[in-house]
């Protein structure tokens, strides 16, 4: 007999209101996308927490690794000129 299957894992993203991004809320086990969406509705939106659900097979997600967090994101650390506060604008100049 085959190994007991708890079904593949799907990561769930819920959009709470129109116009804002979908946010990761957790995961569900399901045989296919349709079932994953139904399960996600029952598990994560029982109190009108959402108006739209995305499900993604967990194994389809690639992630950056926490060990390289420092060096990976480092290139942006030495570029303060990407922020508006880097620039000194004389007082009295408006709309800038």
């Amino acid at each position: 007999m085959s190994q007991d299957s708890q079904w593949p894992v799907w990561e769930v993203f819920v959009q709470a209101n129109p116009g804002i991004p979908h946010k990761h809320v957790g995961n569900v086990h399901a045989t296919d996308a349709e079932m994953a969406i139904q399960n996600a509705r029952d598990v994560y939106t029982r109190r009108s927490e959402g108006i739209s659900i995305w499900v993604v097979p967990a194994n389809a997600i690639s992630a950056s690794s926490p060990e390289d967090q420092g060096s990976f994101f480092e290139p942006s650390n030495d570029k303060p000129y990407r922020h508006p506060t880097f620039y000194k604008i004389p007082e009295g100049v408006k709309y800038l």
């Binding site: 007991d4 299957s5 957790g26 926490p66």
Partner: protein, 311 residues
């Protein structure tokens, strides 16, 4: 041997309030303890559905039935959040369930007591969910990201559980003498088990120093228990029910209630498997798993067939 530097960095992170995420480095003891605690919590949520599920078909009105169904469904959801949070520690659900069914993993002692009357449903929501909330609001501040997030979510949902239970008790307490007696009887039977479910007293629960430092445990069992008692006693007074503890009294100097001795022998017997319903609960869970097996297999086979057809 784990690198001392790694441990120091890990502890510094926790001390500064940063959450630990699944792929971060963590000591083996931290991972093991979390798997133990979180799976125990997940099991408690789904085993906890059994005593209450027992009354769904016999709820006294459609309103009560809809409420109880929604509550029990929430508990299933809590179980799912917690299993999935536990899986982030590198263990899969099949293994977790096997640990439950073989008795290797525990679940909360409280669910090994029977629900004899409708008033027990009130007592459970009020006392058992009430005690769980005390514990879970503390755990929501814990260091492990997925567990803490699951707790935040669960706490939001628990408050309705707590209130609907109190409402049941209040209505019974204001009802006929028989109804009031039924509420009092349920309170008599559930009070001590609810107090005990918050875990052994501090002098009997060793090695919590490290767990506190790692923010796996946030508060001692006795501290949480005290808060639960302090908040619950006035609620009982308000609806005219009395607590089955003749030593219970308010201490003006400390501002806390003091209570009589807790029967820890009973607690440890229940934990060991000798409570009134342990065997029944475990059998119900493992039967559900075995009998559901063909459904899981068939659903998966069907999904695979559909995929082939579509290809």
């Amino acid at each position: 041997m784990e690198d001392q530097k790694q441990i120091e960095a890990f502890e510094a992170k926790i001390a500064s309030g940063v959450k630990i995420e699944p792929k971060d480095w963590m000591p083996e003891a931290y991972r093991k303890q979390l798997i133990r605690m979180m799976s125990q919590h997940a099991h408690s949520e789904i085993v906890g559905m059994l005593p209450e599920g027992n009354w769904i078909t016999r709820a006294p009105s459609l309103r009560r039935k809809a409420i109880l169904l929604a509550k029990v469904q929430d508990e299933a959801g809590h179980g799912l959040y917690l299993y999935s949070a536990t899986e982030t520690l590198g263990i899969d659900r099949t293994e977790l369930l096997e640990q439950l069914h073989t008795g290797k993993a525990k679940y909360s002692s409280i669910f090994n007591y029977p629900t004899l009357t409708w008033a027990d449903i009130g007592a459970i929501g009020w006392l058992v969910d009430g005690a769980a909330i005390m514990n879970q609001t503390a755990l929501a501040r814990g260091s492990y990201g997925p567990y803490s997030r699951a707790m935040v979510r669960i706490c939001k949902e628990e408050s309705f559980h707590n209130r609907q239970g109190y409402e049941i008790m209040m209505h019974l307490a204001q009802g006929t003498p028989e109804q009031k007696a039924m509420a009092q009887d349920a309170l008599n039977r559930w009070w001590w088990p609810a107090i005990m479910m918050l875990g052994p007293s501090d002098d009997q629960s060793p090695n919590s120093d490290q767990l506190m430092r790692w923010k796996v445990k946030m508060e001692s069992n006795d501290a949480i228990r005290q808060r639960f008692i302090d908040r619950t006693v006035p609620q009982a007074d308000f609806i005219g029910l009395s607590l089955p503890d003749k030593d219970l009294k308010f201490d003006e100097t400390t501002g806390h209630y003091t209570h009589g001795p807790i029967n820890w022998d009973e607690f440890f017997e229940v934990i060991k498997g000798n409570g009134p319903c342990n065997a029944k609960r475990l059998k119900a869970r493992s039967d559900a798993d075995k009998k559901g097996r063909w459904v899981r297999d068939a659903a998966l086979a069907y999904a695979e067939k559909k995929k082939l057809k579509a290809a």
